[in-house]
Symmetry: D2
Subunit: 106 residues, 4 copies
């Protein structure tokens, strides 16, 4: 179920500012890492974080993810589902239940 | 427009593996940074990257973002929209058009 | 106290492989983020990590930091000391003792 | 060649502020990722960056790397050298000269 309204809102936001020129896939990938670290900063010295601050930083990560997806012609929900199918195979329930072991060490 | 089907698929995936115990907000925030760096690795030595590889890594970042959102009772599309409204205010079209300057240096 | 022997070892390693062409400051900055995330991965699901694995990943982060420093004509020990002097001013002992508050919230 | 003067300066800086309590290996690993992303932010929209800003951010990454090394009883120069020996083996000159291919794809 693609959220085309959201995609269109993001496209309009970028177009109005003429920012597509900065949004190469590489720059968007850098931006995702940068925003992910700002999210991590909410938890830098403690496992407890302010939920409002987390919400804002998580939104930034998601926004750049959606921009990169759109740039590459991908639909976020679709690629999550596609990867979930792969991950289900890599981590069979009976082998991984209750364990955080990485698949290459199973 | 919430994608409740996707949310439910992710919940089922986690529940079947009994992995909610590992998915503290802090651990999910670390996971988002880790996966964001794997995405960045696609562009480590070149601005050109293999699209299939990018698709898989972007899906991983998005998946952990959705897991963190659900953990905090947030809806991904809603927080992107909410933040977009804030960012529109911080970056007025007439001041930022065609410029990548950060808001605190406008 | 500059460790010129180490700097020269790193230069020789790069020169023998003709890798300076890949080591733009931007690519080295990406590499530092990528390796930092591999270090973080040692702590993804637990605050306890295998020390040997941490040692190897920390060495990778440090190596790219030294390559970037050399590329920019900087000496690692010198810039750490220089920044330490700045940080001492930003975080006066009597205001921050025993607190992890960020300087802009002191 | 260990720089014990620098190590002692860092120890004194931390001790005066009673910050060792925050410097678990996990928190330092998070801090390294966070600072690495601030370094990357210098290159977010362009391959050209302000050298003074890079110098400051690189110093922050290095500082946390030294704090983590000291926490684990490791000497930064020694672990870089140790890893360099391993990497020399993984990337033999005659196989990798002028190529950025990862070792597992050689």
């Amino acid at each position: 179920m693609a959220d085309e309204g959201l995609r269109d809102d993001l496209r309009r936001f970028v177009a109005e500012r003429d920012w597509a020129q900065f949004h190469s896939p590489e720059n968007l990938a850098k931006s995702i890492s940068i925003e992910a670290a700002e999210l991590l900063e909410c938890f830098q010295w403690s496992s407890q974080a302010d939920v409002d601050r987390v919400r804002g930083e998580l939104a930034d990560v998601l926004t750049y993810c959606h921009l990169l997806a759109d740039r590459l012609g991908l639909e976020p929900g679709a690629i999550i589902r596609e990867k979930l199918a792969v991950t289900r195979e890599k981590y069979p329930v009976d082998q991984v239940r209750g364990r955080s072991t990485k698949y290459d060490q199973l």
